[in-house]
Assembly symmetry: C2
Homo-oligomer: 349 residues x 2
Amino acid sequence: MIRIAVDCMGGDHGPAVTLPACAAFLARHPDAQLALVGRPEALQPLPAGLVGERCSVVPATEVVAMDDPVEVALRRKRDSSMRVAIEQVRDGLADAAVSAGNTGALMAIARYVLKTLEGIDRPAIATQIPNVTGGATTMLDLGANVDCSAEHLLQFALMGSALVAATSGRARPSVGLLNIGEEVIKGNDVIKRAGQLLREAAARGDLNFHGNVEGNDIFKGTTDIVVCDGFVGNVALKTSEGLAAMVGTLLRQEFERSLYSRAVALLALPVLQRFKRRVDHRRYNGAALLGLRGLVFKSHGAADAFAFEQALARAYDAARVRLLERVRAGIAHAAPLLRASPAGEPAAS
Amino acid sequence: MIRIAVDCMGGDHGPAVTLPACAAFLARHPDAQLALVGRPEALQPLPAGLVGERCSVVPATEVVAMDDPVEVALRRKRDSSMRVAIEQVRDGLADAAVSAGNTGALMAIARYVLKTLEGIDRPAIATQIPNVTGGATTMLDLGANVDCSAEHLLQFALMGSALVAATSGRARPSVGLLNIGEEVIKGNDVIKRAGQLLREAAARGDLNFHGNVEGNDIFKGTTDIVVCDGFVGNVALKTSEGLAAMVGTLLRQEFERSLYSRAVALLALPVLQRFKRRVDHRRYNGAALLGLRGLVFKSHGAADAFAFEQALARAYDAARVRLLERVRAGIAHAAPLLRASPAGEPAAS
């Protein structure tokens, strides 16, 4: 039995999306239980699929708004649905927590409530990005850390490797370091030193380091994992979202331009729908917050019920394969290297 | 009469691409002249369009290879076509130089031969990226500078503004600072300080600062110009290239999947071709190296003749509107602010 605590109030749509997603998730996962966290009156009436033994409502009086500053979420809203969901994990009442709320607040509360794992200075956000091979590339960090040291990048690589090994079944997933060229001499000082640390870690058998990769390798699927600082990762992800949106808009415009193109669009519908399914980022919704003493997953704030259900499934899978123990083991294996590195704050930049 | 010095040996294809592009360019620009720089025997036979008064061959005995280290290109190949083309600009024999060669070598040689403008610590690479409005977003820096200070980002913003004002005719093009959120408090220390400097510059009338933008704004066309450091810019551009390539591959695969989809593809051809034309990055080939005492443009190494011709046209347009004087004027306007800032090397990172 795996139990997930769900922040039902988070995201752009709140219970209107999270509750139907929870019902669909439960129907597909017979050994799952859900703790539905939120303001009890906002969760009524519960959909039929959420009434029964595998579901309970855990009351929380407050809600973290999408635009609440981190300090407000952390210090003033101590009974928020986001925090109560994470406390369920801390108290052993749930195996993982899922929220579509404000990312900064979620990370801050998760870090405060759960604390980081030994050997990890900063948690990171890891997500999957579909690539041309039909699989997905796992990328981290995606915005939690705007300034990173080489040591932080090594920690991200270890955590990402544990995540992919646990959830994909690949024993030794490959790690690429995001850079502006493949050669070892490329990049700024932090990146060059991170490359060196990753090579040392690979030599010790801590991970499988491929070397530097470039932005286009994310979509080529050159490596299973791409490691970068949160600033670069966030820009790469948002840039991709922007380009994908533009491609969708332009395709639509061209297929709507004339009577002829509209007729062709009807005929091409099955083809275009297959294409759309293959690039549907909703299938990959659910980013892992790694490096904490508990499993927390972040759904996109704008997720619909289908997408939010994927985030729930991702949290469920991570709990089922005991991701937390795998991450701990990965870090423990690299402990000598991590201890040798100056921890704590990164160099100014 | 505008005269462009062309490094005919550069790029993945050399004269096989550059010479036909030069011929097509001359045919379309009756008041242009070309200096064709390269190994004379490699430029024979000249296409018919390149024989005549508006064209001359300027011999250079060496060629910078695409994988030559910067030091080799700069110190050992002193008679390379790349260098001789840039020297034509330095010596007043050409109004601009264009090369499809190795970016690192081109930047190093251009900087060495031409020197930077007063008030500019480091040249930057600016390119245009098509956006959903049908126009293009000008982005800089794209790889020349992997570590930037806030002052460098201000310099990029001033140069980008001068470029867009000169070539688009918009008097006050808007500048966005690439960040991981719109709020002023977002980003690392360099970005926050750059935001402050840009606001000061805007208050002084040096430029039109919109504020922070995110990765997706590049393709939305939220601002005319997007400013970032070269590491982030390179990753964003390469990531976009990777996603665009994936979209192309998946669309092709889906339209080739079955007899039905192949038949639909034939019918959809005019629609798909219009779409393709709208996202055709070749139309935007030709990045400006800004901040030098002379105009230099960089073509994509893999450019075909159509793309290389666009780079020539871009250099021609820049010379025609006296881009160099515009950049100088923009910098001079902001001189008090630039002088007040600590110049030189950026903070370690």
